[in-house]
Symmetry: C2
Subunit: 148 residues, 2 copies
DNA sequence: TTCAAATGCAACATCGTAAGTTACATGAAA
DNA sequence: TTTCATGTAACTTACGATGTTGCATTTGAA
C-alpha cells in the first residue's frame, strides 16, 4: 500500500516555519522534506485555501503561518487536505446486492467508523503549539546531552 | 488510495462457503465476488496456510472451511493475510535525522497505534459465526418482507 | 486408460493515485 | 528591468493490489 504522507509533510513544514522568523520559500521547505518545490506548493496550497498559511510572491517571498499555533489542530489540517481516506483496508464493493456481502460490509464499516472517530478525536486534541512545545523540549534535551 | 479489499473478499467467500454443504470451487466463488478464479485461489491460499480452509483438487474439488466458525476471528483472518497495513496515511520518512520530523512522526505514530489497537481488539471480538448469525437474521427478515 | 474438472503457480498486464518533474506564466522587490 | 518567488497545467514515475493467460498437476468418473 502506498501511503498518503501529506499530513506528515505539512506538519514537518509548518514546524520548520514556526521556528523561522520570516517567510520560508518552497525551495527551502523542499530541501527539508527531501522533495520537490512544486510538490510543496501543491500541498501547501490546500492549507492556504483553509487560511492556515499565506504565501508571498517575489523577492523575500515564501510561506508564512497565518494562524495562531494553538488554534490549528491536526484535524483541521486533515480537513484542509481534503479528508483523505484514513484506511488502507476497505470493502470490495460499496453497494452490493448480495446479502452476504452486506453483512460483511456492515461489520467492517462499523469497526472502521469507530476507529476513524477515535482518530479524529485525537487529531482534534493535538495542536501545532503542542508539537512545537514537544520539539522545544527535545531540542533542549539534545543540547544538554551534547554538553556532557 | 487503492484499498486492500482482501479481508472483505475472504469474509464474503467464507460466508458463502458456510452456507454450502460441499466444497465450493474457485469459479463459483469468483462469480460471487465478481472477480477472477485465480485471484480467489491466490487469496484463499493465505487462509489455507493458516489452516482456516482446505482445498481439494480434481473432480468434486474446491474449497472447504476446515475450522469451527466460532473459532475464526477477523483478527486471525487479518493475520493470515499477512497483516497488511491498516492505514492509508503515514509518515513521509520512517527514520528521519531531523528532530522536527521525529516529533511529527512520534505524534502520528502514537495516534495511529492507538487506533490500530482498537481495530485489532474489535477484530478479535468478531467471529465467522457472528457474521453467519447476522446473515441468517437478515435473511429471515428479508423472507418475511417478501411474504407481505 | 482416458478425459474432464479442479487446484497450483509462475509470469505478465492493468489500474489508480500520490508523488515527482518540466515548462512557462505571473507578480513583487531591488 | 532583472531577479526571485509563487501559480499552475501537463506529463511522467513508482508501486502494489488486482486481473489475466498459460500450463502443470491431481483427482474422480466414464
Amino acid at each position: 500500500m502506498k501511503r498518503d504522507s501529506r499530513l506528515s509533510s505539512v506538519l514537518h513544514a509548518l514546524l520548520h516555519m514556526a521556528e523561522q522568523d520570516g517567510p520560508v520559500t518552497s525551495d527551502t521547505l523542499a530541501e527539508c522534506l527531501g522533495t520537490n518545490p512544486v510538490v510543496v506548493r501543491r500541498t501547501m496550497g490546500y492549507l492556504r485555501e483553509a487560511g492556515i498559511v499565506a504565501s508571498d510572491r517575489g523577492h523575500a517571498g515564501g510561506w508564512r503561518i497565518s494562524a495562531d499555533l494553538a488554534d490549528v489542530t491536526l484535524r483541521q489540517l486533515h480537513e484542509a487536505l481534503g479528508e483523505p481516506a484514513m484506511f488502507a483496508i476497505g470493502n470490495r464493493n460499496e453497494n452490493p446486492a448480495c446479502l452476504v456481502e452486506q453483512v460483511v460490509n456492515a461489520a467492517l464499516e462499523d469497526t472502521f467508523a469507530e476507529a476513524e472517530a477515535l482518530l479524529l478525536e485525537r487529531f482534534s486534541d493535538i495542536t501545532l503549539a503542542d508539537l512545537a512545545a514537544d520539539f522545544a523540549r527535545r531540542h533542549a534535551a539534545a543540547r544538554r546531552r551534547r554538553k556532557h
